[in-house]
């Protein structure tokens, strides 16, 4: 047995290098000193489980705080921010969510005799859906979601893009799109499924993704994404939070994406119809980020960097022209 310590903070001060030379040499004399050194060394290799603060912030915004206007980010000046913040970024009250879900449920039953609940976010809107199983889904503009829960399954069908926060349960929650399936028990993640492409980003928990016609399963952990390209190739990457979770923040962000995809997002977000001139390469890649609440500004940000292209807008119609 080691002798008791005279001083009940000496080991603490040893670790913070706060011992006097006399105290230090007395401590080293002890026959249990090597054991303390070993414990301190072994503790250095310990890490808590990973935590993705960006994704957690996106989850907070998507499910607990109402969406904020992106123009607040673009404008600078503390005074403006101060004036708008408290009313815009309000906590979503449960009764509000329930009422919204009930309203949707009523319309849903009129048209869907099989019992599935159907949600839709039209052009220029995002919807927060409270599913009957307690999960919440934020649905991006120009997307539809159908949901049906039974004792054995929780089945969601998505066309478009949505961020899911799934209530934990023993029954799996499966999101089916035209290109594949996402299976979880309880977690949060983003699914994008448009024009033959599908991208899934995991925010918390674990997510299993499988694509139609591909026997491989992809298991995602927080901060990871998997993408199916229109040509059928699959790639797993670290999530670019700015690109995958952009819309929760009221923005649309693109990194090296074809112009055609950017234009379709502009059409969805602002209910626009965009006409292209013959000869314009709509597969050229660009990186851009525009706010989802200001069409003129978004058009200017997205289109002005294109060289040799001008555009005019009248109402919901936008016409692009090639310069001579």
């Amino acid at each position: 047995m080691a002798q008791p310590f005279q001083d009940d903070t000496i080991l603490a001060r040893w670790l913070s290098n706060a011992l006097s030379p006399e105290e230090a040499s007395a401590l080293r004399e002890r026959d249990d000193f090597a054991a303390y050194e070993r414990i301190a060394r072994a503790a250095e290799g310990l890490r808590p489980p990973p935590y993705d603060a960006q994704a957690e912030l996106a989850r907070l915004r998507a499910t607990r705080l109402a969406p904020q206007s992106p123009s607040q980010h673009l404008r600078s000046g503390a005074q403006e921010e101060k004036a708008v913040a408290p009313t815009r970024l309000r906590r979503l009250r449960p009764w509000y969510a329930v009422a919204a879900a009930l309203a949707l449920l009523l319309t849903a039953w009129l048209f869907w005799p099989d019992g599935a609940v159907r949600y839709r976010a039209g052009a220029g809107e995002t919807e927060l859906a409270a599913l009957p199983d307690g999960s919440t889904v934020r649905i991006n503009a120009g997307s539809t979601l159908a949901f049906d829960a039974t004792a054995e399954s929780r089945a969601a069908e998505l066309a478009g893009e949505a961020f899911f926060e799934v209530e934990k349960a023993t029954v799996p929650f499966v999101v089916t799109t035209a290109q594949g399936e996402v299976t979880v028990l309880g977690t949060s993640f983003n699914v994008y499924s448009r024009d033959g492409e599908m991208r899934v980003s995991c925010a918390t928990g674990r997510v299993r993704v499988s694509f139609a016609g591909n026997s491989e399963d992809f298991l995602l952990t927080p901060g990871n994404s998997v993408a199916l390209a229109a040509d059928g190739t699959v790639a797993t990457t670290a999530t670019d939070a700015a690109e995958a979770l952009d819309w929760l923040d009221g923005q649309s962000a693109f990194k090296n994406r074809p112009l055609a995809e950017v234009l379709r997002e502009l059409e969805r977000q602002f209910a626009l119809k965009i006409d292209l001139p013959p000869g314009l390469d709509d597969q050229q890649l660009l990186s851009t980020s525009f706010p989802n609440d200001d069409a003129d500004r978004a058009l200017e940000i997205a289109l002005s960097p294109l060289s040799g292209v001008t555009y005019t807008r009248s109402g919901q119609r936008v016409v692009l022209r090639l310069n001579e």
Partner: protein, 174 residues
């Protein structure tokens, strides 16, 4: 005299977001040391920041960390009161270090040592455990831990000392 910026608090979205990114990882770790469960710790962080938002005009940016720790701790205690966590504490820490260049026997022995240490840390009294981990894992100084937990630096040092003594006692084979 009141300071002019008192009224702004953390309501500005840019300030609120920056506060989240700055404080949430540490607060999550603190609550993880309490709950032993990463998921419920992350949920408590969400809850704490909802409270921060509701009180955003009353909390100064440089006081936000201490305020969030207080709220986070209260939320944790409410959860314990509902008996959702009590009685099945297991700290699922991750090991990142791989000992290298040693014999297989030495490596195995290091691994077993580390596993027993994990179990010993999980068995520490709550007060000692969080002081030990906040200092060793998160690199907080005793002074900072004292401010966050609302106790004296001396009390923090005593808990730290006791943590080491108990880890040695709980850890057979050292």
């Amino acid at each position: 005299m009141m300071q002019a910026e008192d009224q702004s608090g953390v309501c500005a979205p840019s300030v609120f977001d920056a506060t989240f990114l700055r404080v949430a990882p540490l607060l999550r770790n603190f609550l993880f040391y309490r709950t032993g469960d990463a998921e419920s710790a992350a949920d408590l962080v969400q809850e704490a920041f909802v409270r921060l938002w509701e009180n955003c005009s009353k909390v100064l940016p440089d006081k936000a960390r201490a305020w969030l720790f207080k709220v986070g701790e209260n939320l944790f205690l409410q959860q314990v009161a509902k008996a959702r966590v009590a009685g099945r504490y297991a700290l699922e820490m991750v090991r990142t270090d791989e000992a290298q260049g040693e014999s297989p026997e030495a490596l195995l022995e290091e691994k077993e040592f580390a596993e027993r240490l994990d179990a010993a840390i999980a068995a520490l009294p709550e007060g000692s455990r969080e002081v030990f981990l906040l200092n060793r894992i998160d690199g907080l100084k005793y002074r900072e831990i004292a401010d966050l937990l609302g106790i004296s630096q001396k009390a923090v040092e005593k808990r730290m000392h006791r943590a080491l003594v108990e880890l040695r006692e709980l850890h057979p084979g050292v």
